[in-house]
Amino acid sequence: MLPIGALLAGCAVFSLFLLLQGKSPAEFFALVYRAGFGTAFSWENTLSRAAPLLLAALCVALPARLGLVVIGGEGAIVLGGVGAGFAGVLLSGEPAGVALPVMLLAAMLLGALWIGAIGALRHYRGVNETIASLLMAYIAIALMNHLVEGPLRDPASLNKPSTAPLNEALRVGTIPGWNVHWGLAFGVVACVLAWVLIDKTTWGFAARIAGGNVRAAQVQALPVGKLILSFTALGGAFAGMAGFFEVAAVHGSANASLAGGYGYTGILIAFLARHNPLAIVPVAILLAGFEASSGLVQRRMDLPDATVLVLQGFVFMAILMSETLYGRFKVFAPERWRTV
């Protein structure tokens, strides 16, 4: 309820911003609708973009249920992509039924290790996970650049250093009947699984307690350390999965294009969804629709490409500010607090 209000408030402030620029908000939102959701192509465009965002958002939302703000999912995505790309090269002679699962596991494992390490630093050494994850994302990107330009480089990739191209049989195709790759389906399933884990299992219940009050959790002898490690690692595994799909479904090899910024958009989505995995699905689709419309907005309204980022920024600010409103109005009373 409140996030929807905040979304509308963000859009309202953004409309003022457009009016100040002498542009029509009505035209803007009509274009966003048309390019994001208005036609079959718009939906394909939106859903293709949503696929990595779903998984990137889970990398933020899962640790967030323990009260951890992890903002470095980008690092797990690029390393996952490199892992998948390299595994794909090693297994190029194997049938897809063997190679693809191994590539997926390699990507998820690398992502899990990377974000899990942030959880471990947090739990055992008291290192702030927000800063650590952000800085480690830069390290991951540098590591990826080193690997694809150095040891893993395909000598034939002249002006765009990449790992060797995946064998055509190891490419992930599109969902039958749609021009959208399988990453979308995996992303949605991952969101549902994460929701089941958090809302329907005792492990998730323990995580929510630890997230609400870590001392209470310790008094109850809940394994806070294991919870932190497992939730950060799981979040990282999902981000690594996003990297796998970027390589296997989109790029066909691992290269610097893996650092596409999905990890950062995922932060916004997770916060908008209030870290509820089920809510991530519609929110990711909405934000992907905004991004899908960026091009048409630039072309038709002569607005800079940053316009959609400004909109996202206003919405994000509105969401953060709305947090202070919780409990102030009866109508906004959060359901979760009543049920937990």
Partner: protein, 371 residues
């Protein structure tokens, strides 16, 4: 026919129109009065004083032509974003000719999108189209290394420390050719000159570009050029350190009017208007097009106030040789900076030699490493 011979002067002199008549129905605008919609896609901002601005200046020239509508998008990532931007231009604006201008758009994005839209022509900058790739894809580029060679001549005259500097993005063939050409141009003036190179690792990373420029100035380099997407930071930082600068991609003289010697610029305005005219006339553009100074693909910025008369004379003489097509910047005797022979006495690589497009070495005199 080998594609280098397909590519060059023939293009500008219009013989491309030898292009088969069969292409006319395929493209389908000859004789039609609805404007041809042309989409330009840039990987960065179109006012970056660099790579993207050079292409946007070309797009602006096309915009002024009769019978065309130009649409543009900037800051489009080399991910599924660009695939969808191209398809969005096709679906919503009925674009029939696309110019996705970043190298990284080519494989897989252009190559995978083109077969789905056979009625659309995809003209990609810098890619290496080869037989077997979709026929509605074309790639074009220019021999801008020669521009860096001419930059090097002005740098060779301007330097007093005999050290010049190069801020580079990534150690890939196009960049290495520019670095080597810059040094060899300077060595034509004085064979003792060395060139220090620093790779930032990214196409656009302002902080590192500034750090690299300062490091070069600290090391005694007094003429600096670069190959990054937007040279603005390098130019302003270097001029602020009292170094001379040579431009790249576009004309950066407004950023450092006193310190700017010259610059290697793309001349996409001429190239794009010719390509668009070919299509408007019902012809097809060759799939693989390359050109240099003589073909109007690249041009040099006007020489700055700090360029001496001696420098000007040598610059003009070498430029005339290049224009006449009888000049090799990379020629023997030449070793790389680890001692391996590149070319023996009498051997040389003409600017259109395809071997230069897979260069993987820095020549002797360049201080730096490709890995």
């Amino acid at each position: 026919m080998p594609f280098t011979s397909l590519s060059r002067r023939g293009f500008l002199t219009g013989t491309v129109a030898a292009a088969s008549a069969s292409a006319v129905p395929q493209l389908g605008f000859a004789g039609s009065h609805s404007p041809l919609t042309i989409g330009f896609i840039y990987v960065g901002p179109k006012d970056d004083f660099g790579y993207n601005q050079a292409h946007a200046e070309g797009a602006a020239a096309v915009k002024a032509m009769e019978g065309v509508t130009v649409i543009e998008e900037e800051n489009v990532a080399e991910t599924i974003d660009v695939q969808k931007s191209m398809e969005s231009m096709i679906n919503f604006d009925d674009a029939k000719l696309l110019f996705p201008t970043s190298f990284g758009y080519f494989d897989p994005h252009v190559l995978e999108t083109a077969p789905k839209h056979p009625e659309v022509r995809f003209q990609h900058a810098a890619g290496l189209w080869s037989e077997g790739m979709p026929t509605n894809v074309g790639s074009y580029f220019g021999y801008i290394g020669m521009g860096q060679y001419l930059n090097g001549i002005t740098a060779g005259h301007a330097t007093t420390t005999k050290r010049i500097g190069f801020v580079a993005a990534k150690p890939i063939p196009q960049v290495l050719l520019n670095i080597n050409s810059f040094l060899l141009g300077a060595r034509q003036v004085d064979p003792e000159i060395t060139c220090q190179v620093i790779f930032t690792g990214e196409w656009s990373l302002a902080v590192k570009e500034a750090e690299a420029t300062n490091a070069l100035a600290d090391a005694g380099c007094d003429v600096i050029t670069c190959h990054v997407d937007g040279p603005k930071v390098v130019m302003e930082t270097a001029a602020g350190r009292d170094c001379f600068v040579c431009g790249y991609h576009a004309n950066q003289s407004p950023l450092a009017p006193e310190k700017y010697l010259t610059g290697a610029e793309w001349n996409w305005a001429g190239v794009y208007t010719n390509m668009v005219q070919t299509v408007l006339d019902g012809g097809t553009i060759d799939n693989f097009v390359r050109g240099g100074l003589a073909d109007g693909f690249i041009k040099m910025s006007p020489l700055g106030p700090a360029v001496s008369d001696a420098a000007r004379a040598q610059f003009e003489a070498t430029k005339a040789q290049i224009m006449a097509g009888e000049f090799s910047a990379i020629k023997g005797p030449l070793k790389d900076n680890t001692g391996n022979a590149i070319a023996a006495e009498g051997e040389g690589f003409a600017e259109d030699d395809i071997a230069l497009e897979s260069m993987d070495y820095l020549v002797e005199g360049v201080i730096g490493s490709t890995s």
